[in-house]
Structures are given as structure tokens and as C-alpha cells.
Symmetry: C2
Subunit: 439 residues, 2 copies
């Protein structure tokens, strides 16, 4: 990778002399080629990698994207070019090779010729999505290069964001497509330390999916829908949502419960630092599982350089003879996007109206909020002039300890403050209720 | 135009049922066709215009543009479809016919087949410019339609912004290309009530061009440069800057000098209303001429649907044999853009560091700012710890009465408050000074 690092350093470094300006549609189709003779040239250093040529695709456009993604050129060069790259041992099904930078910010991925061509044709749509859908979960492309050795072999490389920083312990990892056909991870995959599991593994483990705060949920679903619309319009299929699940350990959140002031503040500091590092990243969402356990989700749409082409069509025809067409993962792009979103909304993400504060008898708080369910007619305990806090059946509330799902009838709630000692522990169970009243 | 109004009303109205979403690259190439039989159909009313078909180009994209330009659909429909349109008597050289809506907000212009095709191919670049260069002076395109009568005749129509509202008395009007070849308005044009004058007429009348406040000047030049870059990348040429000049009459600005309180406030109100209506419009810039007279400039780049094609090439070859190539207005797009910008910066717009407040012995203000020039060594009257207000030679200051251009040496100034009775009237002359000191 030394030659590639030299090529990228030269390409990105030489851009410094090109004034920053608006990007034009023609910028997407620019290719710059520089020869790197091993003896060096006027613009390239001498090196030991043998003669090679290095192509940079759409240099001005990717500079614009890097700026949009808040990537400083100096940081980019330092991470990619001046520190060793580590090859990841877990290549995808595509046969691509992945390298990660030592600061874990960037991934360099090798791509096939047709994927590279497709990426270039995709750039206008990619730009349009970035400008309209700034929270997009599509891959962040930071650069696109081709390393040509004298023998005529071309190695095309894409620099992207690293969705799953290795410094965060990822307790689970899922590749979700919304298909259920053969979507179990293989035995050999499951034998790995941190396997990439699939749709059916997910449904088995998280039969209720993840619970997100309402605004986070709305934002996530809207973002995914916008991303899917773009992918569909570009006839892209077979993409996945990569989901990294980090469980927040009780030692993290309760660090202040059993420590003296000094240790406590430094433990808090550590937790804060660790968390703020999470939230600096895009695609990071706080969530809970059905037991109310705190999770941090790392989300991103991956493998978007597949198109619905002849091969895929053929594969679908053949598979759909053998299996129910709906569950096979190769269809037309519109069907694929619809099924993908349906799976996300039905099986993966759910909205909680709010995460209620933790109820803990040991806390110093003298009030807490608490939902009590009773199998009797709903009583409006709040004053009539207060706007009732209306919820629909099927909605979920988390008390921090458990998730309560409201079933059957529309009910109306209000929030009230009650003393911790009024809490009825028996109601903290993961059951469904016909009606809910506020205690 | 009744049929066209019916067609637009149907096209824009029926969009209400299409949910608002991000626009996609495919939206730029969509064409919707609706038949309007004179007996009416399930989706169209009966009418007396004879059978016709109505095509709407890129309906979703233009809806997006209208929203970006803050055009409410109801207002758009009302202006275009439910009020009579007025045909303008002054068609351009292109042979297009122009209609203006009765509220003067919109222009409907007929375009040739090749211009229409070109506009559609231009839309991705147009979108990119809007998202990066929001102050753009390029035409605002609000809709693009084709009226097809049964005989096979197609009338293509573009709805645009109206740069020069007729309710504002436009004292002069210029069409500037940056060329000096035959760029005088014709005699017949000059005989009109408000002729459209050209580059050489402009240079003759405004040998010092317009003076703009520094931030307005910087913004305008930057915007024009960005617009030119886009036009150049799309190989567009022969565009013009349309400049409407409204002189602010002394009766407007001094309305409060000689009136009692009641009349004064209503006159002020009128001026304020009239002005606020100006500033609501894009492309409106306050300026002064070399005498310091207040102007309001209405600016916009027009005629951008010309491409550098075979005919233009031929025209240039032929003309450049006869004339000095630089001054002929048909060249390659890069040359055209450079010459256009050079003309704007050298002949049309200049930066004033600031418009100093009006000096008027009758005002109640007890302080005013005043530059006094003396042909002797500069004296720094300000305290050393105050950062001097540095200016470069060649920069201009307007005192509201006159414009002072600083020549030869770099000088340093500071602002000081002086009493009005200290003002030396003799210095208020339009002359160049070697050095300037602050009195």
C-alpha cells in the first residue's frame, strides 16, 4: 500500500494549489493521471515500488465532499498517507479488500471495474442527496483512485468512512437487507469473535427490535426513506443496513453510584468522553432493547455499488421459481427499497414516545415518573384544562427498566409527579395492557 | 394564452396530490403530457380553445425550484392562471414573445426547440448552482411547458422571474455583454420611451461606473463569478447582464425636510414601503453614481440558453477576419466569461469602502464624518493604540455628496467625530488626492 499512499498524498496535496470553488457537473467526470517512475520526476519523488501510474477520479468533487463531511485535508493526509494501514481480516462477499487507517476514521476498499464506473456515474445523484438529505446514512465517499502497475493491472480504491470503530466494543453486528431468504449467518461466520449476523439472526435475537426516542426514530426513518429513494432512482439494489450494537454496561452508567467524589468525577469524565466520541460520529443512535437496556447503535447503508443488471435479473427469475418471490433478496429496485423499509419499520426500529427517567430507589431524586397499568376503565387524573398526553395503542414507553406497549384502545395520559415510594414494583413488567392510567 | 393558462393550472394544480420529496436526477428528464379535448375529459374541463395537448417538463424539479425561490403554489397559480397576461411590446433579438403577469412577478417567454432541449439538459447544473450559490443572478426558472395544438405546432414556454417591475420607474436599462463590437443601441431602440442601451452607451454615460458599498460589491462580484463559471462549464455564451437603473429622487430622500409631522410620516412611510418592495426582490443593489447620487440597480443575467455551437463558431471566424477578435462578442465560453467579468469589474462596478452619512448643515445630527484632503504629508491624528482605518490607493469613498478616489500612495485613516460647523465645503469636490488626512 506504500505506492497507493504516495499516490494519494500527491493527488490530495497537489489540490492545495487549485483554488476552492463551487463544483460543476463536469467535475464529476474529471480524471487526473500522474506517472510515478521509480527514479522520480519533476512532480513525484523517487521510490522503491516500481514504475506505476496513479489516477484520481473527480478530484475537485471529492475535495468538496470531504469539506462537506468536515474532513480537514491535513487530517485526511495524515491518516491515509503518513500512518500504516491495517488490512481487515473480514472481507465482504464481494471479494473486496479492506484497509483501515490507524486512527480508524477511514476505510480504503478495493472495487471492481464496473463498480468504479458506476460510482462515477452516481456522483451527481450523490451530490443531490448530500445537499438535500444531510443526515444521509449512505456511505461517505472521500476519494476515488486507481493504482496502475506497469503490467497493466488496475487496482481501484475508494476511501470511505469507517462505520464501526474498533475501539468501541461492538457486542453484535448485523447486515440487514429486509430479505428472509437464507438470511442466517453461516456457521463459519458465527464461529468468529464478532460475526456479521443477518436478518433472521436479528429477528430471533431482537423479536421486538430496537426502541428509539420518538424524534430520533422519526429522523432515522425519514433519512432511510430518502436514502432508499435515491438508491431506487439509480436502480441500486442489494444494499444492506449495517448495524453495530454496543451495549452500555452498567459499570458505565452507574459509575457515580459507588465511588468517592474524586474517582467518581474521573469515571464520569471517562464515560462522558467515551460517549461524546460516539455522538461525534454520524449514524450513531441511542436506543434500548425490549428490556430497557441502553444501547448505542452504529448505522450505515453499505454495498450501494450494485446495480440491478442482467445477472441479478437472471438470478431472481431462477430463484423465484424455486422460492416465494417476496423473500428472495434480488428483485427490482423499487420492490427492494419497499421491502427494505418495511423490514426496518416492522422488525428493526420502533418509536418510544419518551425514555422516562430511570426509577431507582437509591437515587437522590425526590420525584420520578411512573406508568401504572390497571385492567379497568381509564381515569383522567389530570385537570381538564391540561392537554392530555395522548398516545395510540401499539406505542411504547420505556421506564428505563422495561418497555410497556399500549394495546387495543386509544388512551389518554398525563404526566404527574409522584414520590418514589409510591412506585408499585409489580407494574414494572414487560406485559401488554388494555388500558393505562397514570398513577 | 387562455389554453396555456388552463394547461399550467392543471399541471401545477395536479401536483398537489404528489407528496413533497427530495428531487432526483431522474426528475429533470420527466415529461408529463395531458390531452385537453375541447369537450373535456375526466381530468380536464371543457373549453373553447380547440383540442390541444399540454406538456409539463420536469414537474417535480420545478416545484422544488419554486419552493427554493419562496414561490407559494397558490400565488403562482393566481398570478399565472387566474389573472390576464400582458404581452410585452419589446421582444428580444431572439424573436421570443414575452408575457408578464398582472402583478409583474412573472414573465412567460416562448423559446425555440433547441433552447428548450438545452434548458432540460442544463437542469442538473442549474440545481447545483442554486444549492451552492444561493444569491445567483441567473434567471429564476419556475416552470417549463409545451402547448401543442392539433395542427402539430409546438409552443414552448418558460416561466421566469420578472427582473424589471414596471411599477418602479426605470430611468435607464442596459444589456451588457462585455463586448464593444457594435454594442451601441440602434437609433430605433433609442427612440423608444425606455430603450435597452448597450455596453458602449453605458461607458459613455457612466465613465466611472457604479459605486457599491464594499460588502455589496464583494458579494455581487463573487456571485457573478460563480454564475459565469457555471455558464462556462455548460459552454454557454452570449448572455448579458441586464441592468435596470432607478435614480432615487431627491423628493424621495428629503421628503422629511419640509413637511409637518403628519405628512412627513406618511411620506416616509411611502418611501419605506417603496424601498422595502425593492429589497424584497433578489438582484437589487443600492449604488451611487460618480456624483454620489443614490441609485437602485436591478440586476440579472439573461439569455443563458445560447450555446457555443457551429453557427456561433462560424460567425466568430467570419467576424474576426474583419475585426479585432477581442471585441467581437462571439468567442469560446471561457473567453466570453473572462471578458464579461473583466468588463463588469473595470467598467461597471466599483467598491466604496463605505457610504459616509450625508453631510447636511440642516440636519439635527451634531456629528458627522468628513474626509479632508490636503497636498501635504499625511498626519496621523488618531491615537496610536487605535487600529488605523487603512485604505489603498485607488479605493473610493463617498461622502454622500461626492466620491473621493484615493490615488498614488497607501494612506492610513481613522474615523473621528467632528462638529458639522468644522466642515470645509471646498474639499467636497470630485478630485483625486495624493494623500488624505482626517480632519
Amino acid at each position: 500500500m506504500g505506492a497507493v499512499q504516495m499516490g494519494i498524498a500527491n493527488a490530495v496535496g497537489s489540490l492545495a494549489s487549485v483554488p476552492v470553488r463551487d463544483i460543476l457537473i463536469t467535475d464529476f467526470y474529471m480524471v487526473e493521471t500522474v506517472s510515478f517512475p521509480s527514479n522520480g520526476s519533476q512532480v513525484t519523488p523517487a521510490h522503491n515500488f516500481g514504475d506505476f501510474r496513479f489516477q484520481t477520479f473527480a478530484p475537485i468533487a471529492f475535495r468538496y465532499f470531504r469539506k462537506l463531511f468536515n474532513i480537514e485535508t491535513a487530517d485526511f493526509l495524515h491518516s491515509i498517507c503518513f500512518e500504516p494501514l491495517q488490512e481487515l481480516s473480514n472481507p465482504g462477499a464481494s471479494g473486496s479488500i479492506f484497509y483501515v487507517t490507524s486512527d480508524e476514521r477511514f476505510i480504503i476498499k478495493t472495487v471492481q471495474h464496473n463498480e468504479a464506473d458506476f460510482l462515477q456515474s452516481l456522483l451527481p445523484s450523490y451530490f443531490m442527496n448530500l445537499k438535500q438529505n444531510p443526515l444521509t446514512l449512505l456511505p461517505k465517499f472521500f476519494g476515488f483512485f486507481c493504482y496502475q502497475v506497469s503490467l497493466g493491472k488496475n487496482i481501484r480504491l475508494i476511501v470511505m468512512n469507517n462505520l464501526l470503530p474498533q475501539s468501541v466494543s461492538m457486542h453484535e453486528k448485523y447486515d440487514l437487507k429486509g430479505s428472509t431468504y437464507k438470511r442466517y449467518a453461516s456457521r463459519s461466520e458465527k464461529a468468529k469473535a464478532c460475526p456479521t449476523l443477518k436478518d433472521l439472526d436479528f429477528v430471533k435475537k431482537y423479536h421486538e427490535g430496537f426502541y428509539l426516542e420518538a424524534d430520533k426514530y422519526e429522523s432515522l426513518i425519514k433519512t432511510l426513506e430518502r436514502d432508499c429513494l435515491v438508491l431506487q432512482s439509480c436502480k441500486i439494489m442489494d444494499y444492506s443496513l449495517l448495524v453495530g450494537v454496543h451495549r452500555v454496561e452498567s459499570s458505565d452508567v452507574n459509575a457515580d453510584d459507588d465511588c468517592n467524589e474524586g474517582a467518581c468525577s474521573s469515571a464520569n469524565e471517562l464515560t462522558k468522553r467515551r460517549r461524546s466520541r460516539f455522538w461525534d460520529l454520524d449514524g450513531v443512535f441511542p436506543a434500548r432493547n425490549h428490556k430497557g437496556q441502553e444501547l448505542v447503535l452504529f448505522l450505515g447503508v453499505i454495498d450501494i455499488l450494485q446495480k440491478y443488471r442482467f445477472f441479478k435479473k437472471f438470478e431472481h427469475t431462477w430463484k423465484s421459481i424455486l422460492y416465494k418471490a417476496d423473500t428472495v433478496s434480488v428483485h427490482n429496485p423499487s420492490f427492494y427499497a419497499d421491502r427494505f423499509m418495511r423490514f426496518m419499520k416492522e422488525h428493526v426500529f420502533h418509536s418510544c414516545r419518551t425514555f422516562l427517567p430511570h426509577y431507582s430507589p437509591n437515587t437522590s431524586a425526590n420525584t420520578t415518573l411512573f406508568l401504572k397499568a390497571q385492567k379497568k376503565k381509564i381515569e383522567r387524573l389530570f385537570a381538564p384544562e391540561r392537554k392530555p398526553y395522548e398516545i395510540e395503542t401499539g406505542e411504547c414507553f420505556s421506564t428505563g427498566e422495561t418497555v410497556i406497549r399500549i394495546s387495543k384502545e386509544k388512551v389518554a395520559l398525563s404526566t404527574q409527579e409522584i414520590m418514589p415510594d409510591e412506585v408499585d414494583e409489580s407494574s414494572l413488567e414487560n406485559i401488554e395492557f388494555d388500558q393505562v392510567k397514570f398513577r
